[in-house]
């Protein structure tokens, strides 16, 4: 692979200059003539029927544009997988942030007062707030049974395994909601005219999701809906689905007012109303042999989906498939379900269910180790998946991955053994207890199962009049480096310089549907298509006799420019075709769940201060095999950023719920890591390559979210000798547990500590 010139090098970020000079245009930076502002009136109760809406005194209501459900030209829903979520509630409300009315006015301050002046009377209905309440079904809040989706994955003979087990190890693990907390709040601008239809510009991940939702909502033909992505200030999954809602709201106001409408959420509204990571509960029951081999087990994975189905079924699917971790299970049953509650719908967040189920798996491995009497390192080593073995869905591992070797390298990089020995001695005295924790995991790249086949993504590459080429994709840039890496791939495929390649801003009138920018699929799946479309340009020029077998970048530019001058345009398309060796059974949930997996071993070193009960992460080693690293700086940036979010997930970020509403929806009281909170995060790669990805790349974006939380909680247990199975783990949780223990045992706190 050494002959590659551009792939694998740290070329400058395509849109970087705009970002460091402040010239990059985000949606709130954009102004249109005659533009007015829109705002949302939301439900104040978790569940009930709307009885009466009153427009209060003191507001010049005639100046306002008011939109309710009856103004919707098409179907009142946000079309996604199912159509159950209304765009505006007309009768029933199912969560405390449900949109009911939209207002617009030229003055933002007047708008705020008007929103407060609307009062709504309800007939309340009993709500459901937790997984446990939902599964008791004393109230049915969705469908006939509160269940959005269930899956069952069955491998081997689980029922026959318990009698053979030397140990049966059980555990229950839970994870809380987590806010994506992109620094740019959600926002959209919509403009309408009868001839061109609706155009929206916004902060978003998936232009064609928004497009589909607007077609249904506005009852317009495809050519009369245009979606343009503006520079997007972070997303992390949080701008996968909710932008369709805001785009719908802005569109309805624009249609009714005849003016362009801008809706920008403030931080409180964004945190309270938009999606968060699904809270989860995972139960493990595992049969283990005397020598620490997993014989089989049952995993029950349950997530809280909130009030509407949205993406819960797919989050559940990924979480379920990853629930067995990177281990070989001869016999395994995974039962997964997504339940309804009266909270705002939970949604996509980096990792998409896998961080939840892998947290449980990796905490459970440490529990198994203790029961069997092996070290956390040894129990993993004895159960790692090996090439030729099968995953939970009976997918044969074809990649030459050696997880034992990966583990050894991570142990050595983190000085695991030496530090652990030292801590064992040092922890005997003093109020600071240190520990080391490990997590091994995998993350499947691309859509699950037959997902990529259904998406059937299309990308284009265009030869330009100046001889350069332009990549045409709906894949969006929101920090990860989409634009940069896809241009590298095209340049590499064509033998051009990086500067010869540009990329179109995603605009549904200008780019084909290359699928949503989610699921760690862009570099691997879309990148491969970009390379293929790029080669189509080359072939056309060769067939036209304008380019020889070998050529310089300048010769290419001359040929390309001449072709475009002669023929008017030069376009090449590529469409996804499922690899012939990929088989997936949607009914049995069996087969090749993902075309490729990334693999990782993360090691955390923590210190627990028994004066303040706070945990600090002092060192973090992140070692992963992600196929070919296409851009070393961006790749490290993805891993470090993901680890930082994982540390937040484990130790800082707690959503406090009251009656289905987030109470701490400010940056002051929902705490994400600052620059002073994070350890050195040391990133290392192994590169095995991957036949399914562009130049051997696999997915990378979500992987680093999976490992930090279990590695940190395992390290806390190593430090204290007390295990915690629920995150976020805050100082007060440790305080309470240790205090309760010392009270019940009447012994010194220190005795509970190793």
């Amino acid at each position: 692979m050494n002959h590659e010139r551009i792939v694998g090098t740290a070329v400058p970020r395509k849109e970087g200059r705009g970002k460091v000079t402040g010239k990059a245009q985000y949606v709130d930076d954009m102004l249109l003539p005659d533009m007015i502002y829109g705002a949302t009136v939301r439900s104040q109760i978790p569940r009930g029927r709307i009885k009466k809406i009153t427009f209060g005194p003191g507001i010049a209501w005639k100046e306002f544009v008011v939109v309710s459900a009856k103004d919707i030209p098409g179907k009142n829903c946000i079309a996604l997988i199912g159509d159950d979520q209304p765009c505006l509630a007309s009768d029933l409300v199912n969560h405390p942030e449900e949109p009911i009315l939209l207002l617009a006015h030229p003055d933002r301050h007047a708008l705020r007062k008007a929103v407060e002046a609307v009062s709504i009377e309800y007939s309340p209905l009993p709500p459901v707030f937790t997984i446990e309440e939902s599964e008791r079904r004393s109230e049915i809040v969705w469908g006939t049974d509160n269940i959005f989706k269930t899956y069952r994955i069955e491998k081997g003979d689980v029922d026959g395994v318990w009698s053979r087990a030397d140990y049966i190890v059980e555990g229950e693990y839970s994870t809380g909601a987590q806010e994506q907390l992109y620094i740019e709040n959600n926002g959209m601008i919509a403009a309408f005219d009868a001839e061109r239809g609706i155009t929206v510009w916004g902060s978003l991940q998936c232009p064609y999701y928004v497009h589909k939702a607007l077609l249904t909502l506005c009852n317009l033909p495809a050519e009369k809906v245009r979606v343009v992505q503006m520079e997007t200030g972070g997303a992390f999954g949080g701008k996968e689905e909710y932008p369709s809602m805001i785009a719908g709201h802005a569109a309805l106001l624009a249609i009714k007012s005849g003016k362009p409408v801008k809706i920008i959420y403030d931080r409180e509204e964004d945190m309270a109303a938009t999606t968060k990571r699904h809270p989860s509960r995972t139960r493990h029951r595992t049969a283990v042999s005397r020598d620490g081999k997993i014989l089989g087990g049952e995993i029950e994975f349950t997530i809280d989906g909130g009030a509407y189905a949205t993406l819960s079924s797919v989050v559940l699917s990924r979480g379920a498939i990853h629930a067995g971790g990177p281990y070989y299970w001869p016999n395994l049953r995974i039962r997964a379900k997504a339940l309804a509650t009266n909270a705002p719908p939970h949604g996509a967040f980096r990792g998409f269910g896998a961080p939840q189920s892998l947290f449980a798996m990796e905490r459970h491995m440490d529990r198994i180790a203790r029961v069997v009497g092996l070290s956390p390192v040894e129990i993993r080593r004895r159960n790692f998946l090996k090439p030729g073995q099968t995953t939970a869905t009976e997918q044969v591992v074809h990649e030459p991955i050696d997880l034992g070797k990966l583990l050894d390298r991570a142990l050595s990089l983190s000085e695991y053994h030496a530090k652990r020995e030292r801590f064992l001695i040092e922890n005997r005295a003093g109020a600071t207890k240190r520990g080391m924790g490990t997590a091994a995991f995998l993350h499947g790249a691309g859509f699950t199962g037959s997902g990529e086949r259904y998406l059937s993504s299309v990308v284009g590459v265009e030869g330009c009049a100046d001889g350069g080429v332009r990549v045409l994709v709906s894949s969006t840039e929101f920090g990860q480096g989409t634009k940069t890496v896809l241009c590298q791939v095209a340049a590499e495929a064509l033998g051009l310089r990086y500067e010869d390649v540009t990329i179109a801003q995603p605009d549904t009138t200008a780019v084909p549907n290359s699928g949503p920018t989610v699921a760690s699929r862009t570099v691997m799946v879309v990148g491969k298509l970009v390379a293929s479309a790029a080669r189509g340009i080359q072939q056309t020029l060769m067939l036209a006799g304008m380019l020889g077998d070998s050529y310089s970048a300048d010769e290419f530019r001359t040929a390309c420019g001449s072709y475009v001058a002669a023929h008017g345009q030069l376009l090449s398309w590529a469409q996804y075709e499922p690899p012939p060796d990929i088989f997936w059974d949607d009914q049995a949930y069996r087969g090749e769940a993902y075309a490729a997996y990334s693999w990782a071993v993360y090691i955390a070193e923590v210190a627990v201060d028994l004066t303040t009960y706070s945990v600090s992460v002092n060192d973090f080693v992140a070692l992963q095999e992600v196929g070919r690293v296409l851009h070393p700086v961006l790749a490290v940036g993805q891993i470090v950023g993901g680890v930082a979010q994982g540390i937040g997930f484990a130790l800082y970020e707690k959503v406090i719920w009251q009656q289905g509403r987030m109470q701490n929806c400010q940056m002051t009281n929902y705490i994400m890591p600052t620059s002073s909170d994070l350890p050195p995060i040391r990133v290392f790669f192994e590169e095995l390559g991957n036949v399914h990805g562009a130049f051997g790349a696999k997915g990378i974006g979500e992987l680093p979210m999976d490992g930090p939380a279990p590695a940190i909680l395992n390290a806390v247990e190593d430090a204290l000798g007390i295990g915690f199975d629920s995150i976020p783990l805050l100082a007060e949780d440790i305080f309470e547990t240790i205090t309760a223990r010392s009270l019940s045992s009447e012994s010194d706190v220190e005795s509970g500590v190793r």
Binding site: T21, G22, D107, I183, R267, V633, G641, Q666, S675
Partner: protein, 166 residues
């Protein structure tokens, strides 16, 4: 839409922005952030939280780093403001801007203007900061993408290049 009636109560505020004298008419309690973005068209300062927590609206006011969402415009009377737009000299990027590009200090870019100004301010006060000093100096600016490591590298690189020698 602003009628003369609505204009009543506004004051004239004179200030220097990126080296140019400006006079704006604004309500005294209007936020410096809004005046910069809406009246002066300087949209590099971003609103992330509106409560001085995230630092993405950071600007320099008389060489002090401030959250422009917390500064009433009246308080900016007579001051000298530097925004991200005032950092590069024409096409020539400031050393820190170059360093952020090279080291991967900017991902989604929304915190970048504030982060670069915070780093600029730090290096002005302390041209050779230790890593700990960088961490503390930037702790008022939140970044959700990078995990900060590549930002620290960018600041270190800029310091090495003598970011503030000009």
């Amino acid at each position: 839409m602003i009628s003369s009636l609505e204009d009543r109560g506004k004051s004239e505020i004179a200030l220097t922005v990126n080296g140019e004298p400006k006079v704006v008419r604004a309500f005294p309690m209007e936020r410096l952030l809004d005046v910069l973005r809406q009246q002066l068209g300087l949209t590099g300062a971003k609103e992330g939280c509106g409560e001085g927590e995230c630092g993405s609206c950071s600007v320099l006011m008389d060489d002090t780093l401030v959250n422009s969402c917390l500064v009433p415009i009246l308080q900016a009377q007579g001051t000298t403001i530097v925004t991200i737009e005032g950092l590069a000299a024409g096409e020539q990027l400031e050393t820190l801007q170059e360093a952020f590009l090279e080291c991967g200090g900017s991902q989604c870019g929304i915190c970048t203007p504030g982060m670069i100004l915070a780093a600029f301010h730090l290096l002005n006060k302390n041209p050779r900061p230790t890593l700990q000093e960088v961490k503390e100096g930037l702790s008022g600016n939140l970044c959700r993408c990078t995990g900060y490591v590549q930002i620290f590298e960018a600041v270190a690189r800029a310091a090495q290049c003598g970011a503030t020698s000009s």
